[in-house]
């Protein structure tokens, strides 16, 4: 069926892609293996794919010191869940509004959104405003609001989807049938925009789950609000942070803290939720990326 040329090409394509896949996962494999490596072996022999001695110490340690990590894990889930829900609602409404033709001031509004992609006030003024005016320092809002809630890029993605993929006639028809604009939006537009909504949801989820900067700037005293990323980032500075927050008497043998392996283990559990969720939305994701980007 295939010509010889095509067969050769297919083989080349498969080899190339297989190599690419290997490049993508090999570092992750090293990460996972390190987390299962005995800590002394790790220090003596370095990071290896086939370590001399395996060990579950790191995970055992995490289980024992569970409270702090479970809490950070819980915070990550709460922040991501809440953040994505609010972010999606606000972004979709804004994108929809500026996608409809004929609205007075539409051009200005669109530019108002677009301009935020080009120009910003920078870290200091943003920090001063959020702490000075809105007092969100050391509250959970610090993890939810600054810089993450509405991104102009996603608004523009959605807007172009609404503009190109939802025929105006359908919306007009709904209007004539007596549906209010909110009903039309809710009952007609949203169901039709599912792919782009799923995409932006995943983007937003990655954004919230992986964010560590807000915690770095805004959480100074409330380390109990740390997400898993904040914890990891803090542990780069001081591995002891983990041990010092373990309740007295629970586990005290700091000398046996398998620090290097523990870091790797926390990194592994930090990736896990995203890696698990991802296959389920993968299809929508790929579809959404294209729909938005091409017409962006």
């Amino acid at each position: 069926m295939y010509s010889k040329k095509t067969k050769g090409f297919l083989a080349f394509a498969n080899i190339f892609l297989a190599l690419d896949v290997i490049c993508c996962i090999v570092p992750l494999v090293l990460l996972v293996i390190s987390s299962f490596t005995d800590n002394t072996t790790l220090i003596r022999n370095g990071y290896q794919f086939i370590p001399e001695k395996f060990s579950l110490d790191a995970y055992a340690y995490l289980l024992k010191s569970g409270k702090l990590i479970m809490k950070a894990y819980g915070m990550s889930f709460v922040v991501t869940g809440l953040g994505v829900a609010v972010s999606l609602t606000v972004t979709t409404m804004l994108a929809y509004a500026i996608s409809r033709p004929g609205i007075p001031g539409k051009k200005i509004l669109t530019f108002f959104v677009f301009f935020t992609m080009l120009f910003n006030g920078g870290l200091v003024p943003t920090y001063m405003m959020y702490t000075g005016v809105f007092h969100i320092k050391n509250t959970i809002w610090a993890l939810l609001i600054p810089n993450l809630l509405v991104r102009a890029y996603y608004v523009m993605l959605m807007r172009s989807y609404f503009q190109t993929s939802i025929p105006e006639e359908i919306l007009e028809a709904a209007s004539i049938d007596g549906a209010s604009e909110f009903q039309t939006f809710y009952k007609v537009s949203i169901p039709m925009a599912k792919p782009i909504i799923a995409t932006v949801a995943l983007f937003s989820m990655i954004l919230y789950w992986n964010d560590w900067q807000n915690g770095l700037y805004y959480l100074t005293t409330r380390t109990d609000l740390f997400t898993i990323q904040n914890l990891l980032n803090r542990m780069i500075q001081e591995i002891q942070f983990l041990s010092s927050n373990i309740a007295v008497g629970q586990t005290a043998d700091v000398a046996s803290l398998p620090s290097t392996a523990v870091r790797m283990a926390i990194a592994v559990i930090g990736i896990l939720p995203i890696a698990i969720t991802y296959p389920f939305i993968q299809n929508n994701f790929a579809k959404g990326i294209t729909l938005g980007a091409v017409k962006g």
Partner: protein, 489 residues
Amino acid sequence: MKKKALAMLMAICTMAAGMSVNVSAETGDTDKLVVALRITGTTPADVSEVQDKMNEILRDKIGAEVELLIIPSGSYKQQMTLMLSGDEKLDVMGCNSGIYTTALASEALKPLDDLLAEYGQGIVDAEGEAQLEQGQVDGVQYGIPVMCDTAVGYGTFGMRTDILEKYNIDVSDVHSYDDMTEVFKIVHENEPDMTVIAPTTVGYSPMQYCVEWDKLGDYFGVLEDHGQTTTVTNLFESDAYRNYLDVMHNWYESGYFSKDVTTATEAGSSLMKGGNLFCYFNANKPGIKTQEENSCGLDLTFVQVLDTFTQTSNNWQWTIPENCEYPEKAMQFINELYTDPDIINLLCYGIDGEHYVENEDGTITYPEGVDATTVGYNMAPNVWAVGNEFLAKVWDTNDPDVWEQTQEWNKSGIVSKAYGFFYDNINVTTEMAAVQSVYDEYRMSLECGVLDPETALPEMNEKMYAAGLQNIIDEKQAQLDKWLESKGE
């Protein structure tokens, strides 16, 4: 389905709201002072209990409460910079000369003269006018220097006693870098997997423990020869500095430092606690053994190879930022830190009976069944930064008269001719930023011995001069001359 989703959303919102409500609910009706202090080592677990105990006393005495903001040394400067840049509430701040200088430049500190006169009599009595002068800039009081060891025993090394004993190493005759090299050589040969030496603080090179010059605040323009001259010169061209670099480079090349020394993320004491380190740098003083052993949980032996020396503006100070809500109460609180042993001991060692117990001779120790690694609160490594450390109880590994020893110690050693001088960099801020960024590029790698000083040092000097180092040196010299003149010398 939709209803379910909605219900879940509501539930999450309520949860989040609940969490933030907690925050605001905490503030009672008493004035609350936010007090920032730095901790070397690990953040204690029982801070809030200790804080409650302190507040029981403070409510009656000064009608205010404190909220302790204990921040690890690695991120202290960064957090203070952020807090001072906004109009965030911060009532009392502990700071070193680095933070102090930056804060002064952006006028973030309150002048304290009036407050001190009215509410700080205890401080004046305890500390004395002469020592307080250390916190003045052009005659205006901005900081209250803590009372602790002011003389520093430079070139001090804390080594694991068990390793020394294991290989029969006698350190009583160690008096120079070269002698240290011999010790390290033996340890390295016998324990090839162990890191021999490590810096003390994450992000700082060991150079701050190996000082033979008065750095005059910031290292750019110094007084060589332990400040026994009054001519400001470039540190990075001095023989003493070059000698230090050669020693470090030799140690690095010999494999005594970890190869990852510049990206290390753990403090010397933490590494030691983890069992894979033999020695780290330190500054000698009476009681050093207890201070360090408490933070690393191992028996240590100390030797000092450089001179004991007192330089200027090297103090830890208490300050009241512009963002302070209750300056009077803040000063009253600082006053307590210099006069009230109960407050001081709570802050240093936690609650009597829970975090420590008293021995018959008045010294204190861990309660039964508790040790350095399990105690819920112990700031022994930070006792010196608390205010009046001479009112603190004495840990039982120290001599009971350690504070008398310290007062003697402060009179020993060399004192810089510039002692009491504060250098204000406001006229050369442009050059400062530029030179600082050159220094940042080289500092860690050069001073941890990674780079060869033969090539890297001239390179750094060249870039620093290009960035305006000479202007800084000239400015410093001018200010110093003026200060010396005012002192009538």
